[in-house]
């Protein structure tokens, strides 16, 4: 399992480093990083599955002394770890760059945007997107399907961001928290923690679905 996590890190390390750099630059400009987090986190499965499916790497992986289930569970675990790390980095870097003693606006801005509710909600949305898209990537072997699924999930997420975020011309300037939380509360009268639990449950169900797909020889063959 350790080696598979390492393999996934090798596959995504450049993208993760690039994303962190973008988060840092964006934070210096005092723009809310969480919106970019959606875009970049959703690319993680795409990066891993597109290369694997294109080159039929699963054929090779299955000849190695690794169980099929281990291959799937580790992939999910890595995506979870990487997306949490990216989120924490986005949160941390924005908090640090917002804390400018001579700039009260950004202080307020930073602390408002990256509250725990935002983190729960952002992470839940990303988890739900992963939970829906990953079984398709296991269920269909083609590289094109991975691009299509990633494209669709990306469009839906960007759509969600625009629906739920105040646009730049508003006074609050891409403020993420208030509108999305209000929007979500209207849609689901649940607390962010419950939404996070739903996201995690979807993720676990997604693992079970992917494992079942592979058990039935629908993929990884």
């Amino acid at each position: 399992m350790k080696q598979l996590l390492y393999r996934d890190f090798l596959l995504t390390r450049r993208q993760i480093a690039g994303t962190c750099l973008i988060f840092f630059i964006v934070s210096l400009g005092h723009y809310p990083v969480l919106i970019y987090y959606f875009i970049f986190a959703l690319q993680l499965p795409h990066i891993m599955f597109a290369d694997e499916n294109k080159n039929k790497v699963h054929y090779y992986l299955l000849s190695l002394p690794i169980g099929k289930m281990c291959l799937i569970v580790t992939r999910y675990l890595y995506i979870l770890i990487a997306s949490v790390c990216l989120l924490l980095f986005a949160w941390g870097i924005a908090a640090i760059t917002s804390l400018k003693p001579d700039d009260i606006f950004y202080m307020v801005y930073g602390s408002t945007i990256y509250g725990w509710q935002d983190i729960c909600l952002a992470f839940s949305v990303v988890l739900a997107a992963f939970a829906i898209s990953i079984p398709f990537m296991y269920g269909f072997r083609g590289a094109i399907i991975v691009h299509v699924i990633s494209g669709v999930m990306g469009l839906l997420t960007i759509g969600f961001i625009f629906v739920s975020t105040n646009l730049p011309d508003t006074e609050e300037n891409w403020k993420f928290n208030d509108k999305v939380m209000t929007w979500f509360r209207e849609l689901f009268p649940l607390s962010p923690v419950v939404i996070l639990l739903i996201g995690l449950s979807m993720y676990v169900i997604s693992i079970v679905i992917s494992v079942q797909l592979v058990r039935k020889n629908k993929s990884l063959d």
Binding site: K2, Q3, Y6, R7, L10, L11, D51, E52, K54, N55, K56, V57, H58, Y59, Y60, L62, S63, L64, P65, I66, G67, N217, L220, D221
Partner: protein
């Protein structure tokens, strides 16, 4: 002792089926797995490696069901390099080596040097020959007892094919090592195989040792005027041209004693056997 035992293995797929396949891969020998394209060679290997589950039958590798422990003892070579194309050999090694209990770094560097493979070049920039060498490098570096090769020579030039055959012969100096070599290029096997398993349309046609094959199968060449319907029935397969006929014969050669100089009898190569048996 057999490294692999397949008994009455069947699998139905959308457009193809494997029917009651039974054969063995004897330990310490090179077994060639021959058959035309689409005959079920790769499907059989996938079932052997537990990539596909058989619908019926029993597959034993090292006397047990295939699991990760058995895979520790197996080196697998595909017809192409199914690895991460943006990885280098160094990166692949850092991922693969710790997976094997018996990984031998000395052996890895020995083969890397022997094959002349660059360790920092991305795999996608490798030529077909380099890809095959890379596949071999990773398959051999953990000192596998059992090497499975699925069409490893497909698309390779004759020079590298010859090098590969030499390497396999060198590997077989270890008497505990077993090689299962699937190919439709039968000339590769004429030189090195000890046993042959012939598959056609998802079923085994025969499994014989090379000695048996040499004793059993003959090519008989003669003139068309000597070929009457009764004689034609004696052949496994026959080919006629204006110049005469040639046919695959598996019976008692003394039947041709009366023909004297009018027939020419030769030992059949694997290519002859495959050609005539598929033509039948």
């Amino acid at each position: 002792m057999n490294t692999v035992e397949m008994k009455q293995v069947s699998k139905k797929m959308d457009d193809f089926s494997i029917n009651k396949l039974s054969f063995t891969v004897p330990k310490g020998y090179i077994t060639g797995f021959i058959g035309p394209n689409g005959s079920g060679k790769t499907s059989t290997i996938r079932m052997m490696m537990d990539v596909w589950k058989a619908d019926q039958g029993e597959i034993k590798v090292f006397g047990q069901d295939m699991d990760t422990k058995a895979k520790q003892r197996i080196g697998f070579v595909y017809d192409d390099l199914y690895m991460y194309e943006n990885f280098t050999i160094d990166k692949m090694r850092s991922f693969i080596a710790p997976l094997y209990d018996t990984w031998d770094p000395t052996l890895f560097w020995k083969y890397q040097s022997k094959f002349g493979l660059p360790t920092t070049k991305k795999l996608k920039k490798f030529s077909k020959g380099m890809k095959m060498k890379c596949s071999l490098l990773f398959a051999l570096s953990h000192n596998p007892e059992f090497i499975i090769m699925d069409e490893p020579t497909a698309g390779l030039d004759p020079v590298f094919r010859r090098e590969l055959i030499d390497l396999l012969q060198e590997l077989m100096t270890d008497e505990n090592r077993t090689i299962f070599f699937s190919t439709h290029i039968t000339t590769d096997l004429d030189q090195i195989a000890d046993y042959i398993v012939f598959i056609k349309n998802g079923g085994i046609v025969f499994q014989k040792s090379m000695e048996e094959i040499k004793e059993t199968f003959h090519i008989v060449k003669g003139k068309n005027e000597d070929l009457d319907p009764d004689i034609q029935k004696m052949f496994e397969g026959i080919r006629q041209t204006d110049q005469g006929f040639s046919g695959l014969f598996t019976g008692n050669l003394s039947l041709f004693d009366g023909f004297e100089d009018r027939v020419l009898i030769e030992k059949a190569t694997l290519e002859d056997i495959m050609y005539f048996m598929l033509k039948r």
